[in-house]
């Protein structure tokens, strides 16, 4: 795998994708992804989960190019509602709402939408390019990995998610364990023993992580809407003015796109961080470096350009560990891993060698998806806004209907719908008490895999646990795992002791958390 190979592979990848059928699925993915991004409450992981049963009949490559389009489309679509309704469609567009909505109020909503679209295109293309250059290098490295290294890597992915998700380390820790715990249900593949089935035959096959994602995200969201919909109020701004950016807006946008793209890609590659953190970090960077930083918070275009570039770039970055190592770092890539498994494919170094057509076709389709985003979305923005006119009660009930349909179509039994309902209630409770949901999905996907690598490692070493610490690479990874656990722990203890100290000193004031 040398430099020249990459371009040859890319050309053959385009050869695979540039057929009417595959192009259709890329476009379909982009359109669905954007629509989903515009609608509140449904994100890319959920969309892919719900579409899985529908895609069973397709060739794998058609399904995956569509998922690629959905991934990028959803990242972009979230910006529209952030800017015009001040309601982010996704958590990764929360920061966009700060300045985007102010711009819309001033009549520059069109320019905000334009900088989001062009920035997303720029960032997505940059991230796909980096993915293409980095993934083969990583693959070459990963070919030397054995079971202990994979075990350590997955543990690192989980601990990074635990350390980074949300505000509270114990809540994230619990969410991860809950996911791992759900992943244990069913027949143990190595010994054939049933685990946590409580005599129910329907549980022998385990709890599908896709069902976990649908239950927590979609059904949980519907119950949440039932509890809050009549008590919240939204302010909508109609789109005024031209969709074009003026000269000054261009000049202020492009440095923010570049900063956002680089930040987003790096954050995306790291496990656990993801689009939301990427967009926040990008906003921080704009607060420091943007020309119009004084205006940030009151409608500065950099506050839209940077974060929107960052969340799209992170989508591309997140595909690097998924494709090269087979290790997802977010809920969306975790669901994509399940999709690969459904087709009997295992992402990772071997996929690059055995399914080169599929991998390079997917990469080529990501370039096309980005272009499609730009071409389709700006002219269609007025249509996307129309989507917001769908009455909320019907929208949420519709989400519920599709969720139930999705699991029934997959399993053909009503027990799965009961399970989905229970997972939905669980998602609602987790949401109510501000627990992060993504680690649960990631844990449910990684649980069985991590256990398998753990046992395999010990089988190789004949039950010698030192195998995780005597191989240099595994040792480094294990040290990183320990660091990611200890840092938040010390942080919490330090904060608590400071709090006690300040209370003792009689300064009962605001303590930042």
């Amino acid at each position: 795998m040398f430099g020249g190979d990459i371009w040859a592979n890319l050309v053959s990848g385009f050869g695979v994708v540039l057929t009417p059928q595959h192009l259709f699925f890329v476009m379909l993915g982009v359109v669905i992804g954007t629509a989903i991004g515009v609608l509140p409450g449904i994100g890319p992981s959920l969309t892919i989960s719900l579409l899985l049963p529908v895609t069973f009949g397709l060739e794998p490559i058609s399904a995956f190019v569509m998922f690629g389009g959905i991934f990028y489309g959803a990242m972009y679509g979230g910006s529209t509602t952030s800017i015009l309704v001040n309601t982010p469609g996704e958590s990764s567009s929360v920061v966009t709402a700060i300045d985007g909505f102010q711009m819309a109020k001033k009549g520059r909503g069109g320019a905000a939408l334009a900088t989001a679209a062009i920035g997303s295109f720029f960032a997505g293309t940059f991230a796909t390019l980096m993915l293409m250059l980095m993934a083969p290098l990583l693959v070459r490295f990963a070919l030397q990995f054995g079971a202990p290294e994979y075990f350590a890597l997955m543990l690192l992915a989980l601990s990074a998610v635990t350390g980074l998700a949300g505000q509270s380390a114990p809540k994230a820790f619990f969410a991860t364990l809950l996911g791992l715990g759900l992943g244990m249900v069913g027949i143990d593949l190595q010994t054939g023993q049933a685990r946590f089935t409580f005599g129910n035959l329907n549980l022998l096959g385990g709890i599908d992580p896709v069902m976990v994602a649908i239950g927590l995200f979609a059904v949980g969201e519907v119950f949440w809407a039932a509890g809050t919909l009549k008590r919240t109020f939204e302010e909508t701004v109609t789109l005024r003015g031209s969709l074009l950016m003026n000269r000054e807006e261009w000049q202020r946008s492009w440095p923010a796109w570049v900063r956002g793209s680089v930040i987003g890609f790096i954050v995306g590659v790291l496990p656990g961080a993801g689009a939301t953190i990427a967009s926040f970090l990008s906003y921080n960077a704009e607060q420091r470096f943007a020309k119009g930083k004084a205006e940030l918070g009151k409608g500065a275009i950099e506050g839209v350009a940077g974060p929107e570039a960052a969340n799209n770039a992170s989508a591309g970055g997140a595909l690097v560990p998924l494709l090269a190592l087979g290790i997802p770092g977010s809920a969306t890539t975790a669901v994509m891993l399940v999709a690969f498994q459904i087709y009997g494919l295992r992402p990772g170094p071997l996929l690059f060698q055995q399914q080169a057509d599929l991998v390079w076709g997917l990469i080529a389709s990501l370039y096309i998806a980005n272009l499609a985003l730009l071409v389709l979305n700006l002219p269609m923005v007025r249509m996307w806004i129309k989507l917001l006119d769908v009455p909320k009660p019907m929208l949420y009930t519709g989400i519920l209907t599709f969720s139930l349909l999705g699991v029934y179509a997959d399993t053909q039994n009503t027990f799965s719908m009961v399970l989905l309902l229970l997972l939905g209630l669980l998602g609602f409770l987790l949401r109510r008490y501000d627990f992060p949901l993504a680690p649960v999905v990631l844990g449910a996907v990684l649980g069985p895999l991590i256990e398998q690598e753990f046992r395999r490692s010990l089988a190789i070493s004949v039950s010698d646990y030192s195998v995780f610490f005597t191989r240099p690479l595994a040792l480094v990874l294990m040290m990183l795992v320990m660091m990611s656990f200890l840092v938040p722990l010390f942080n919490a203890i330090w904060k608590a002791s400071r709090r006690r100290a300040s209370v003792a000193a009689g300064t009962v004031g605001e303590i930042e958390d």
């Binding site: 946590f196 809407a225 919240t232 009930t397 209907t401 029934y408 008490y433 753990f454």
Partner: protein, 150 residues
């Protein structure tokens, strides 16, 4: 005591329950170094620890204006739960289209502030019939037909 501390105690109970569940797994007698109980035990202990951790460090209370502090509309949540449970119960009996029409229509009435009985009814019928046709005819995925054949 703050609500989150009760949640933390509930988590400890979940962990205990999980460990009890792990105890029911038959440990195999094969050569394998790590049996089917190892991971579940570790997870159960971890869950208990996370509950204790959360009890000790519950974090700051949510801001009064955050959505987490909104008092919830428990009636709507309960009704929604009831409608879904009823849907699952009658799903096979009455067939996909009829059951789903009721779910869509009923759910929209529960969630909405104003009633649009007719409009929602029309949407519900059209949407469930479309789904049924698309799945059973185009995708060839079986959905329960019910006594009326749809």
């Amino acid at each position: 005591m703050r609500a989150i501390r009760w949640v933390a105690l509930a988590i400890v109970l979940v962990g205990v329950f999980y460990l009890w569940g792990a105890l029911q797994i038959r440990e195999s007698t094969t050569y394998a170094a790590v049996g089917p109980r190892f991971m579940p035990n570790a997870i159960g202990i971890g869950i208990i620890l996370s509950g204790i951790w959360l009890f000790a460090f519950p974090g700051a209370s949510p801001a009064p204006d955050s959505p987490l502090s909104v008092s919830l509309d428990w009636l709507s949540i309960g009704l929604m739960l009831g409608v879904v449970a009823a849907y699952i119960a009658i799903f096979r009996m009455v067939g996909y289209v009829l059951a789903t029409t009721l779910l869509l229509w009923g759910g929209a009435q529960i969630l909405g502030e104003r009633r649009h009985l007719m409009r929602d009814g029309v949407i519900a019928v059209v949407l469930s019939a479309t789904i049924y046709y698309a799945f059973s005819q185009l995708l060839r995925i079986n959905l329960p037909p019910g006594p009326l054949g749809f």
